[in-house]
Amino acid sequence: MSVADEWTAGQEATAPVAESVDLLVLGAGPAGMAAATEARAHGMRVLVLDENGAPGGQVHRAVEARLAKGAVEARLAKGAVEARLAKGAVEARLAKGAVSDDQDKDGAKLAAAFRASGAQYRPNATLWAVEPGGKVFWSEGGAARTIQAERLILAAGATERPLPIPGWTLPGVMSVGAAQIALKTAGLVPEGNVWLAGQGPLLWLYAVQALAKGGRIAGIIDLSPPGGFARARPYLMRALKAPEYLWRGLVWQRQVKRAVQVTPARELRAEGEGRLERILVDGVAHAADLLLLHDGVVPNTQVTRAIAGVTHGWDPVQRCWRPGLDVWGNTAVAGVMVAGDSGGIGGARAAALSGRIAALEAARALGRITTDERDARSGPLRLLRDRQLAPRPFLDAMFPPLPEAAIPDETILCRCEEVTAGRVRQAVGLGCLGANQTKAFTRAGMGPCQGRICGPAVHGVIAAARGVEGGEVEPFRTRFPTKPLTLGELAALAG
């Protein structure tokens, strides 16, 4: 049993939860892990809630298990019998350069520091409410729990933007992010008639990772709007402040294009009886048993939108909402902060820096450090973050979301309630101005996912049908509980 396993078994599952903490962090991705680690360095009592079973978030998913497995194999190969600490083994691998993936290196460091920080960590925990004054509710193991938090850092990460095409509800159509999770957590590689379609960096990264693991991809359907580089060119000089992003992107594309046919296309449909059987690419049919869709990622604002008083602004380039934040990550509500991609897409490294910066501000707000100390410690972090964010305007201009106006009427937008784009457009024709009105008319966004998946698409279709900017359309109101909750879970609070 590794140190990580002992920690998991001994400390989390059975440890009682205190009545209050100084800082509650939502999410154990790069931002959450870094925030918790930094806050612990200033003596704060920290509780971290995360929906996954292990730290890492989406980008560093299962990083400990994957690296520990590699370390065990290396030890076995050498015939070493003494039990070494998993942390030591990970460090040894890092030192040897055995971990090829930069992201894994970053993730392993963050996770090791987080594990050693003394923050209380509850995996498999789903937050579902934040009351004014900092009372937080979540569920784990089928029971609801609550705690009073002085400060909140919400680091809920990003979700993939939906890419609704006719037939995307057929079993066998998934997102690229989903396939990457299957690869990272279960070692599943694509095989057979597997197609990738859409646009954005994650699509290319997954293709590289899947091919490196021995996966096979039948083809990539590139749906990116033409003229990407011309749009992005004005931001090139700025992007070159962190040239590794662009360099990596070019390397990924070259590697993939050597092994896989890439077809630019405008129209894509999925067809089959009861499951995906074929795709139609600009009218040309190909056999398919797995179609992976991707159109970039958007900030996960499901929780911040449900907190009264937290403002959100419209990002006209990436066509998504993001919470209104100051440089520290403070929202308009005192004590409620946001760090990482849920505050605006910046990538894993920017997220970790945002987490530390937010924790320093929280430490100042709670009197653990002075304003001068906060400024002195955060100064270098803010410079590093600026550098990490430098390529974003370039990437954002390169990959604007696919146009919602082009979604055919027959396409299901709301997967839960099976509401098509045509019905949402009809509701707009009847006078609906925003997503909450079309929801009342059509039920779009009313199912168990609570608009998580369809939200950006419904919003975009309404804006396009009205002929206005997305910022002029009211988004889905989210309400607590932000995840479905059973009465049985709720009853545990009374016990």
């Binding site: 929906e51 079973g53 079993p171 989903a178 299957a182 279960a186 599943l188 499951r275």
Partner: protein, 98 residues
């Protein structure tokens, strides 16, 4: 669709059928690795559905696990001998009570 690169170490039961699996992986991953794509039938039209996001957001991977309905298969870890089946439409109270 997918091929495993890691060995399996246990079995689970899906719709009365034994499937190889790996303890600790998600139930959704185990089903996908076994070539199963249809996890549920929708309450609205009864259409077959499988997972979209595998990260707890889409609720399209709902299944029954050991008699409990509407469980997100992507958030249920595999344990040896786990018994699961298709979620037919909306949650039915009779089945749960039985």
């Amino acid at each position: 669709m997918f091929r495993r690169t890691e060995p399996t170490d246990c079995t689970i039961v899906w719709e009365g059928r034994e499937l190889p699996a790996r303890a600790g992986e998600s139930l959704a991953a185990a089903l996908l690795a076994a070539g199963i794509t249809s996890f549920r039938e929708t309450p609205v039209t009864g259409a077959a559905r499988g997972p979209l996001c595998l990260m707890g957001a889409c609720f399209d991977c709902l299944v029954q696990v050991a008699g409990t309905q509407n469980m997100q298969a992507c958030l249920v870890p595999v344990t040896p001998g786990l018994v699961a089946g298709i979620q037919h439409g909306a949650r039915s109270f009779e089945e749960e009570a039985a």
